[in-house]
Every structure is written in C-alpha cells, then in structure tokens.
C-alpha cells in the first residue's frame, strides 16, 4: 500500500477528482492548506500599507491505494493539475504499513 499526497491549486480539485473517480479510485481525503515552494508569497496592499502573503492557499489531496495503481494515479494527477505556471504543486508517494476499515475490522489491501 502506498499513500499519495498531492498539493494542488484549489481550482484544479474538481478536474483531478473527476479524472481519478473515472479511473476507479474509490476514496480520497482533501484538506485546505496553505504553503509556499519556489513560488514564494506575494505582496499586497491594505489601506496604503504593504503586507506579505507568504502562505498561499492550496488543496491537499490524500489517497491510500494498492502499490500497483500508484504510477497511473500519479500520472493522472500530474496531467490534470498542471497549468504549466509556477505554483502548480507537488506529489509525494510514501509507503503505508497498515490500514484498517473501522466498520468491519478488515485490514490491509482489503480495507481500501
């Protein structure tokens, strides 16, 4: 099992979710997050005074899937979330040791 974490632009969420559900992904978790990468923040003006917005709003999408699905999912997210401009986000893949479905107690790949 692998966990795929994708930090993407908020307005790309629908495109990514639709593409993933079409290819058979059955679940995902999203959260609103803020952060910066090489894109950095930007300066705004409020009543004549400048202020720095360092953390830019993004959406974090998390999926835990069987290892053999990872390559295809990553490819799909990369394609759907891409605008070609700075700040498109990142995808991280990590190994997951265990997974349990709370309702039934199933474990491992069966619980996904």
């Amino acid at each position: 099992m692998k966990k795929i974490e994708c930090i993407i632009k908020p307005f790309k969420l629908d495109d990514v979710k639709n593409a993933l559900t079409e290819m058979g992904v059955t679940g995902m978790t999203v959260s609103e997050v803020r952060g910066f990468g090489r894109q950095k923040g930007h300066t705004e003006l409020y009543r004549g005074a400048e202020y720095q917005i360092d953390f830019i709003p993004k959406v974090k999408l998390e999926l835990v899937v069987a290892a053999d699905q990872v390559a295809k999912i990553v490819e799909t997210v990369q394609k759907e979330a891409c605008t070609g401009r700075i700040g498109d986000g990142k995808i991280f893949v990590t190994s997951v040791e265990q997974s349990v479905r709370i309702r039934t107690g199933e474990t491992g790949a069966d619980s996904l």
């Binding site: 003006l45 009543r47 005074a49 202020y51």
Partner: protein, 435 residues
C-alpha cells in the same frame, strides 16, 4: 414677503433647532403630528446607524476581536440612552440661553400644552428627546472603532459615560442648545462638527494615550497592515450607515409640517446621497492612482467621508455642489489614512480620517453654498469645539487610565480580546469542530 418669512423661519430653525420651530406662525395639529412623525421615523434610522457602526467595525478588526467590538457597540448605545436621560438632554437644551452649558437635571417630557390643544411646541417632547439621543449614540460609536483591539472593555465603558453624559451635551449646547456659538452665527446642520468631529477628537486622544496595537508599526517607520477579517460585514455596515444618514441629515430639518420643510427634507436626502456617491468614487479613484490598485475598505471609508462632509450643510448645496463636497471628503480620507499611520496613530477602522478630518472639512465648506455662514465663524466653531473635546477627553482618558488602566495586557492582546475580555469567540466553529 412670504419668502422672507420662510427664510427667516429656516434660519431660526438652523440656529436654534430645539426651540425654533414655527414660533412665528400658529402650528396646526397636522403639522404637529407630521413634525413628531418625522422625528420618530428619522430617529429610528439614526438609531440603526449603531448597527452600521457595529458591522463596519466587526468587519475591519481581526477575527479574534469581533465579539468584543460587537459588545462595545451595543453597550455604548445603552450607556448613551441612559446618560442622555439622566443628564445629557438638559445639559444640552435646558436653559442654555446663549451660554456655555445647560442645566443639570433628569429629563422628563412635558406635553401639557399640546394635550390642551396648543400646538406651538411644534412636536411631542419625547420625539425630540429620542431624535437627539440617537445622535449622542452616534458620536460615541465613532470612538470604539478607533481604539479597538487593545482597550479594556470596562475602561471604554467609563469613557462612554463621560462622553455621552457630559462632553457631547456641553459642546452641543453651544450650537444646537442655542448657546454662544449659535449666537455668533456658527452653523452645523446635522453635526459634521458636533457629532462626527467630536467623536473624532475623543478617538484621537484615546488612540494617542492608548498607543498603537502591538506590531502595527515596525522599526524604521514600517507600517504593518492588519487586514480586516470580514469585508462583507464591513460593506453591509457601510450600507446601513449610508441608509441611516438619510435620517441623520433628513431628520435635522426638524420639521415636516409644511410644504417648505418637505421640500427641504427631500433636497437634504438627495444631497446626502450624492455626496456619499462622490466621496466613494473619489476615494476609489484616488487609491487607484496612488497605489495602482483600488481598495474595498477605502471605498467604504470614502462613502462615509462623503456623508460626513455634507452633514454640516446638506440643505443649501445644489446636487453638483454636494457631489464636489463629498468628493473632496473622499480624497481627504485617502490622504489622511497614511498620514495618521506616519504619525503612528493607530486607527483601526479609519475613524479619524472619516469623522474628524471630513467633519472639519464639511463644517468649513458650509459658507460655499450658504451665504448666512462665514468661514471665520465656522473656523472658530471647529477650533473651540475641538479644543474643548481634546482637553476634556484627554483628561478623562488619563483619569480612567490612572484608576482602572486603559490597555489590556500584551498577552491578552495577542490572544485576542474575545477570549480574554468576554470569554467568547465570534466564530466559535473554528475552535469546536466536534459539535
């Protein structure tokens, strides 16, 4: 001849609003009813401005101070209503006779004459009290936004008692109570100086004595923006104030019992509206030119700047003149905000720029369209009332500071006054997601 009498009546009404109604002509019962109705309904509009101030300020403070600012705004209105009954009204209107102060005493309505069929009083006593009381509340509302996010709740309340019970009524007696300034010919139709600048001066001394919010001004003169938390609230607040202003200025005709007063009130309504439009658009353009990007909160301040500017003389200008008077206010407000920041006077919602600066401008602009007013007399009024409020409010702030402290602790300020002063967050769902 008829026109002469009308003009004289208008002049009398402008100079001595509390006494002046139609003493030279018999008042019919219908006039009496309409005058009273006007006071009541426009008074309700002015009362609603308290809601406007509450929403404007709620939107422009940071989210950790919203519940506190809501409480302060409604509480100060309560204080104003009680103090104006206990001392305020009589200090402002009873037996001023060209002097400096009215008399002490609890107010009570006396309508015996009207009930006996003599309508020369012009309106029901309580309708006048009500209309004047809501003005007193408005002056106090100006202060709360300026000193927000760092003042202790109860210290602020004590200041409100002094402002609404004594400072506001005493200076008000000089003009609307028929005191020395009105005898000199100073004119302030609905209170650019008497209400807005008074609130502004009191807020200025408060902001100076309190000091800026922690972190507002950095080293080497850097101004750190602290953006408001809710622009829709600030916007609805401005709309409410704008709406209330029809009552504020329109009701200040002080009568509706004749065609002449109906015409005057209608002119006041449209001049008030046009000045607000001018102030807002001018502020938007000015910000765009100066900073290459416009600013919602400045547009809101600009509308209020136009309204404050026209308040000293909304009856005499043409629509074009009202537009210009408002527009100058809008420009002034955009210049005043960074000016106060440069002086490190931290004004959270722009109350000084709107109410103090434009209050002064509006008062000085009256002679442009009203030949009965003179620049010199208007200036004397602005300076006299400014000096009086500066001194009395500063003394009051200092005494409150000495006795109970003015500013909350640094830790409380960082945590936010909602938690430390009232123990309640305005947006509790951010904390308790499990409910």
């Amino acid at each position: 001849m008829k026109k002469m009498i009308y003009l004289m009546t208008v002049a009398l009404v402008l100079l001595v609003p509390s006494l002046g109604l139609a003493e030279d002509a018999p008042v019919s019962e219908m006039s009496y009813i309409l005058n009273t109705f006007s006071f009541l309904i426009t008074g309700v509009l002015v009362m609603w401005m308290a809601a406007g101030f509450a929403m404007l300020e709620s939107g422009l403070v940071r989210s950790k101070n919203v519940a506190t600012i809501c409480l302060k705004n409604i509480a100060l209105f309560g204080v104003a209503g009680i103090l104006f009954y206990l001392v305020g009204y009589n200090l402002m209107y009873a037996g001023v006779d060209g002097g400096w102060i009215g008399s002490f005493g609890i107010w009570a309505a006396d309508d015996a004459a009207a009930l006996a069929g003599d309508y020369s009083g012009g309106y029901a006593a309580a309708s006048d009290w009500f209309f004047q009381m809501v003005f007193c509340g408005a002056a106090c509302s100006v202060v709360s936004g300026c000193v927000a996010e760092r003042i202790k709740l109860w210290s602020f309340m004590v200041f409100c008692v002094v402002l609404t019970g004594f400072i506001y009524p005493i200076q008000g007696s000089w003009v609307w109570g028929g005191g020395w300034l009105s005898e000199m010919g100073f004119t302030d139709y609905a209170g650019s100086t008497l209400v807005h600048s008074v609130g502004g001066w009191a807020a200025l001394t408060g902001a100076l004595i309190l000091g800026a919010r922690k972190g507002k001004y950095g080293k080497d003169g850097r101004v750190n923006a602290m953006p408001g938390n809710n622009i829709p609230l600030a916007t609805i607040g401005t709309f409410i104030l704008w709406m209330g202003w029809y009552g504020f200025n329109g009701g200040s005709v002080l009568s509706l019992g004749s065609a002449a007063s109906a015409v005057e009130m209608s002119n006041v309504f449209v001049n008030t509206n046009t000045a607000a439009c001018g102030g807002m658009i001018a502020a938007m353009l000015m910000v765009q030119v100066l900073y290459k990007k416009t600013d919602v909160t400045m547009a809101l301040n600009g509308a209020l700047a136009g309204l404050v500017s026209i308040t000293a003389g909304p009856a005499t200008p043409s629509l074009g003149a009202a537009l210009l008077i408002g527009a100058v206010g809008g420009v002034l407000v955009v210049l005043a905000v960074p000016f106060f920041d440069k002086l490190k006077i931290d004004d959270v919602v722009g109350a000084l720029s709107v109410h103090l600066v434009c209050g002064i401008w509006g008062t000085l602009a009256v002679p442009f369209t009203n030949s009965d007013a003179s620049f010199a007399t208007q200036a004397i009024g602005v300076v006299a009332i400014g000096a009086f409020v500066l001194v009395t409010s500063a003394v009051t702030w200092f005494i409150v500071k000495l006795i109970m402290g003015l500013r909350c602790s640094e830790e409380d300020e960082l945590l936010g006054l909602d938690v430390t002063e009232v123990g309640l967050s305005a947006y509790p769902d951010f904390q308790k997601t499990s409910q």
